[in-house]
């Protein structure tokens, strides 16, 4: 079946431009996560959605970053007035259930990421 897809795969923006990154999770997955992966680093958590509700946005680095999942499926990560330090790969992941449900946790399935370069 189809996995998590992200678009665009590559995005080049001039400093100060706004960008929008799209994530299509696996159909029916309740949980959706956004991560930022800088070059040579592991992914860092940005925000988490349970269906359409954004339950955790503690990882968003500034108020220039905004995420939404209005119908509980597709999600968009928007970055306003991009800066050079925003250059990174932005990964989306989805899982069937919310995390922390009892003794088990679901696998998070990652998309291929969007590589953002801000010039």
């Amino acid at each position: 079946g189809a996995g998590v897809s992200q678009s665009p795969r590559y995005k080049v923006a001039k400093r100060g431009q706004d960008v929008a990154l799209r994530c299509d999770p696996i159909s029916g997955h309740v949980s959706l996560f956004w991560y930022q992966q800088a070059l040579g680093q592991g992914p860092e958590f940005l925000t988490y959605f349970q269906n359409e509700a954004q339950l955790d946005k503690s990882g968003l680095p500034s108020d220039r970053f905004f995420a939404e999942r209005p119908e509980g499926s597709v999600s968009t990560l928007k970055i306003q007035r991009t800066q050079q330090e925003d250059s990174a790969v932005y990964l989306c992941a989805s899982s069937p259930r919310p995390p922390g449900q009892g003794l088990t946790t679901d696998t998070q399935y990652f998309g291929p990421g969007t590589r953002l370069t801000v010039l």
Binding site: G100, Q108, F110
Partner: protein, 113 residues
């Protein structure tokens, strides 16, 4: 100090060698330990996970957790060129609706034919 520390490598070994990848952590609340593999220009994929101290084996891969030392390892036996990738350790607390995965920085591994 980061919650999860991982040797960045790069690590280069000949085909057939045993590979040992390691991470240390500082947060004793972590209960769920994972290893992800990430090929170039791809997203991470879950390789192994475990909840408890001890060893867990899956084919050529063995995950080891020592909670008393806050130390986890991944061993790869009979390494193959197709194992060349970046390996990320990752940890998570449970019992929290806001539980998030904390990743190490990744170790780049290259297997020489």
């Amino acid at each position: 100090q980061k919650e999860v520390e991982q040797d960045p490598g790069p690590l280069s070994v000949p085909e057939g060698a045993i590979v040992s990848l390691n991470c240390t952590y500082s947060n004793s609340a972590f209960q769920y330990f994972m290893w992800y593999r990430q090929y170039s220009r791809k997203g991470p994929e879950l390789l192994m996970y475990t909840y408890s101290s001890g060893n867990k084996e899956d084919g050529r891969f063995t995950a080891q957790v020592d909670k008393s030392s806050k130390y986890i390892s991944l061993f790869i036996r009979d390494s193959q060129p197709s194992d060349s990738a970046t390996y990320l350790c990752a940890m998570q607390t449970l019992y929290s609706s806001a539980s998030k995965i904390i990743f190490g920085s990744g170790t780049r591994l290259s297997i020489r034919p």
